[in-house]
Amino acid sequence: MKEIIYYPGCTLKNTAKNFEDSAIACSEALDFKLHELKDWYCCGTVYSLTSDDLMHHIATVRNLLRVQEEGQERFTTLCSMCYNTLKRSSKRINENENDRETLNSFMDEEENNYEGKVDIIHYLQILRDEIGFDIIKEKVKRPLKNLKLAPYYGCLLLRPNEVAIDDPDSPSILEDLITAMGAEAVYFPFKNECCGAYETVAEVDLVVERAHNIIGNAKRNGADAILVSCPLCAFNLDNRQKEVLEKYPDFEGIPVLYFTQALALALGLDPDVCRFDLNYQPVEDLVRGIEQ
């Protein structure tokens, strides 16, 4: 079985345990073991754009160093925010020897210097590039027939261009996964619209508006559920449906799933690994529909 070092991130150990558990189960079913990085640190959540603010890259470099110390040159993650932060930060540090020197000299308690060779890939890239959607299609035991899914990318898998895991304007990686699972990917022009991200803390109404637009677009195109790969997108599109309903009384909810939850069902795994109890909108009807 192939193995890759896996960086969970803080949210996947808390509110997005449904994302982590389903992803680990899927990867084992696909003969690709996720091996959790020992002693990892919070990625910082947001990539620091200030050019002379090296302090906010230390967490990334320590994580890269831990991967290097395990003798590896790449690792993977699931959360889009972790992916984006770690990828952008590692690009900067890997490509900039001066920054690396400054950070290495700051981290003088570390046994080793970070050598600038570790790269991060997103779990979806493993599915596409290492396993292959044709193999996944072969391993599907419970095809998600008659299920229409809206693939939601949000921002962080696609922007900025240099860290995009697919064409930023016209991505297809989630659509291809949906097709491999035997479901139908609906036309979804709002798939890479921003959900409002952390504005959800201070500007709930802004996020409610965005969620209303994005979900409305998915529903008008016939989606039974929305697939996401980011705990913050999941929060804004799933949990915030409560506030959307308060503002728009005729709003009808829609289940929001992590792509790994849908994949676990398609691979015929025990639905318990999906931890659907952590999803806000009920998904029981959807799961029952698949099982029948």
Binding site: P8, C10, K13, D39, Y41, C42, H56, A59, M107
Partner: protein
């Protein structure tokens, strides 16, 4: 005095003191009366946090004054008190989850993994690792890592993210102790037995014995080897 004398600098002023003294006793040898900034003198209370530097070295070091011997060329200053923030809470009303820390110590989530706290810790605790464990909601891990903390405050003084690590750590240990640690079933069972009066007859028998008989009984008791 036979012992070798060393040259130290207390708040910039030069003194010669015996080299076998601790920083704390050296300060007193030099004539300073330590009213705040000393406590048990045994390395347990955390009151004597000290900051020093060696001659010709730029690094500021931190330690406990009662546990560190003076060395030639030490520049010293004693910290009387750390006026760090402490949240007030009722442990019975808290939940053992990450949200509790977000509410009571939001600055904990500003950690940038610089590890300065760990470098400052005189107890050699991986301070940053327990701060990070809390960020990801692993209260058990935070409680275990921070277990040897003596609340000296040096981590908080050095932290660029302005976290008060030691107060965050004790909250983790309290939450773990109250809500998460496995309960000792045998203790519960024994308390129930006691409450039911399991030993009352035995105690009453002892109470009725004469002093001599008590002494005799004590001498002939079962002893562990």
């Amino acid at each position: 005095m036979d012992e070798e004398m060393v040259r130290i600098y207390i708040m910039g002023k030069e003194y010669k003191v015996p080299g076998n003294l601790t920083i704390l006793t050296a300060l007193e040898y030099a004539g300073y009366q330590i009213i705040r900034g000393a406590g048990c003198r045994e390395g347990f209370c955390g009151a004597c946090a000290t900051v020093y530097r060696m001659k010709d070295d730029y690094k500021l070091k931190a330690d406990l004054a009662c546990q560190t011997k003076v060395e030639d060329g030490m520049y010293l200053a004693q910290l009387p008190f750390v006026p760090a923030q402490k949240s007030i809470y009722d442990i019975n009303k808290l939940k053992p989850e990450v949200g509790t820390f977000q509410e009571l110590y939001p600055e904990n989530f500003k950690c940038v993994s610089c590890n300065t706290c760990t470098k400052a810790c005189p107890q050699d605790i991986e301070v940053m690792d327990y701060v990070q464990a809390i960020v990801r909601g692993d209260i058990k891990k935070a409680a275990n890592i921070s277990f040897d903390c003596i609340m000296c405050g040096l981590c908080a003084l050095r932290c660029p993210a302005e976290i008060v690590q030691y107060n965050v750590g004790i909250l983790a240990r309290r939450l773990y102790g109250k809500y998460l640690a496995p309960r000792a079933k045998h203790t519960r069972k024994r308390i129930e037995e006691l409450e039911k009066g399991m030993w009352e007859d035995e105690v009453n028998k002892l109470m009725k014995l004469s002093k001599k008989a008590l002494k005799e009984k004590y001498k002939s008791r079962d002893k562990e080897a």
